[in-house]
Symmetry: C2
Subunit: 412 residues, 2 copies
């Protein structure tokens, strides 16, 4: 049967078609029947594609074709992906996607529609590219209460930080290199400012805690303010700076979620994850710590996750597979990040900075001063004890009368 | 409904009951109905257990009870586990297990019975304890052709090797420490000689390549011959010695599988996995390299995998979930390891060993001599080029006329 339609023939779409066709024989064996891609929907023309005979422009043909069981939505963005997905699910066609923006914003609603129509909305590719994480979290770790999830969820920023750490390129030079290599887009905002990682941690948190976490409710700061001075202090103190998305339970059935650069101790495997690779650490009350590592983006790695989901949909027609989550618009479900305890690296600039040590020590109690090679006289860096973030900020507000706050970066 | 029975109240059985009861509310939410453990079958008495009222001694009560949907077999060993599993599956009851010995020896047959009776035989806990690997391989990576799997699959031996590497304890002292800490059994043979890791790589290989790989067909050597001298040479050359189970495709639809200590380059994440932790690296033609890391054994980590499987069975009653594999008794399906290309670390002992260099170099062509601190005059170590293993052996047979072959360890 020709029962699959791919919507969007960009990087992920073409990778999906390529991988599916390459491994079709073994895929059919796994599904236990003949399956194939019938349509590729894209508004553009691809006359030279070996799959040109399957290209169509009108999505309605897919919707009206009863042979199509699985729609692969790899357009990206909210619209028209949202409408297309909804229409397919309402007709009982399963939808497979890599579209993190759509899942992070409409996941609860679309999962509910899938459930009501005995079909599936699967999105293994939406987090960590090819790294298996959605199904492991949803199935393998379902017997656990999840105590925390922390991950390097964006390859672009991890590439930039790796270049800063390993080759002392500053942020702008490293970003430029990432752009030249095709790892960063021309407008890198979504990656660099943490929006992409934010969508991903929202998906993981929604899955782990059963209620939808909307990206707008999660504090998100990127890496564009990280300096080589910060990298040097961190290295010297035994840390690597990484952009980390994290989520964990909070009091009263709420959750705490945040995306920000963090000082990661080198003993933590996340600190050893370099370049465009991603890694996600999950702690459960039964399993303890587990970690998933691999290529978090790219044509074929992402296609790998998409094709895995297609196979699952084909194998389990008319059967809802996922444990879904509820929609949630409760005010304060995601707690204010300022009310969460953290330890913070702080770098200040002031004339004769060392002279401020007594008053800083008095403010924070037990804290650790850290060094870097050739630390200038007008610079001082320290790591605060673990206290409520708003208390750190209150202290820094006082300190800002006598020094400039150069950087502050949370510890993991 | 009280629809689960746990057979065997040892470490994993009691952990399973503990974790299931602790998280029962959220488990019921995920399954979308009330579920509970009805029976715990064990020949021993546990009068002080909080679950004493569920303890029974007669397995037939479980078999005859139509309310029981899932049987958790955590007895270990082939018999009576095999008979119990078969009887349950033939009645359409799903079976969940951590029993790697049974899966490695009877997996194909039991999966077939499960498939015929629309129920499931799930064994996420059989490899890597709590680490999600069976389902990721079976589902998430199903769109890939698997190019290789290599893993640290046994925590006991990894603990021993870590102590040898980090604290220069010799094998016997490290084994003794592992036994004192409860990481190694009184008779440590199955762990130390690689049998346990062998069962696990057989399960992963069967899953990845679709045909049953029997442990008897896989060459398996353990770590009891690894010396501190070997550790020192390896360290000095940038490698860590790890017990690795590996499987990959070979010519003619066959596979190559082996369990042995290996020199793992420190740039490989597997080299950084210390103590009782396990890690499994999988390479697929789409996904590239992915790695799964966590606690490979222990009461609650293993229970985590078992409970995840129970949930999946309860959620998908009367539906076969797994992609299963075929039985296979083809002579030579697993190729002779001597016919596989490898690079080998070799340590020889001979009077004035350095004088043998010209003849060794002539034998092997391009090879690398490696050093250790205070290398004695009568010792020499080198790494061969990558050639068919039987050719290495033929050369070493000639060399053995003029030197004693102290160690040989394959590279990863």
């Amino acid at each position: 049967m020709k029962n699959v339609a791919v919507i969007g023939y960009g990087v992920v779409g073409s990778g999906t078609v390529e991988l599916f066709e390459k491994n079709r024989e073994s895929i059919n064996h796994k599904v236990e029947r003949e399956c194939d891609i019938k349509y590729i929907v894209d508004l553009r023309d691809f006359p030279d594609s070996p799959f040109a005979d399957r290209m169509i422009k009108d999505y309605n043909i897919v919707l009206e074709d009863d042979e199509i069981e699985v729609v692969v939505e790899v357009i990206g963005g909210i619209n028209p992906a949202y409408t297309f997905t909804k229409q397919a699910l309402e007709r009982g066609k399963s939808v497979v996607t890599s579209n993190k923006e759509l899942v992070a914003n409409k996941g609860a609603e679309l999962l509910k529609i899938a459930h009501e129509h005995n079909c599936n909305y699967l999105f293994e590719a939406s987090v960590g590219g090819g790294i298996p994480i959605i199904r492991p979290l949803n199935k393998c770790l379902a017997g656990n209460e999840i105590e925390q999830i922390s991950g390097i969820l964006n390859g672009t920023t991890n590439f930039i930080l790796t270049k800063m750490i390993r080759e002392q390129l500053d942020f702008n030079a490293a970003l430029k290199m990432a752009q030249e290599l095709g790892y960063a887009e021309k407008d890198p905002t979504a990656d660099v400012e943490g929006e992409d990682a934010c969508r991903k941690i929202c998906i993981l948190g929604s899955l782990a805690y059963g209620k939808h976490i909307y990206p707008q409710s999660v504090h998100c700061s990127g890496i564009s303010n990280v300096t080589l001075d910060d990298v040097a202090y961190a290295e010297n103190a035994g840390y690597a700076i990484k952009l980390i998305g994290s989520v964990k339970p909070a009091d009263g059935g709420r959750v705490s979620a945040i995306v920000c650069p963090r000082l990661v101790p080198k003993s933590n495997l996340l600190a050893t994850v370099d370049g465009v690779y991603n890694a996600i650490s999950v702690t459960g009350d039964g399993v303890g710590d587990v970690l998933f590592y691999g290529q978090g983006a790219g044509k074929l790695p992402t296609a790998s996750a998409v094709v895995g989901d297609i196979i699952d949909c084909l194998k389990h027609k008319d059967r809802s597979l996922m444990i879904s989550w509820e929609d949630c618009h409760e005010e304060g479900y995601v707690v204010d990040y300022k009310s969460v305890e953290t330890s913070m690296y702080v770098r200040i600039i002031a004339e004769n900075a060392d002279e401020l040590k007594p008053s800083i020590s008095e403010m924070f109690g037990k804290l650790t001063y850290i060094e870097r090679k050739n630390r200038p006289e007008n610079e001082l860096a320290f790591i605060t004890p673990t206290i409520i973030e708003s208390e750190i900020d209150a202290n820094l507000a006082i300190l800002s009368h006598s020094a400039q706050i150069g950087s502050k970066i949370r510890l993991l």
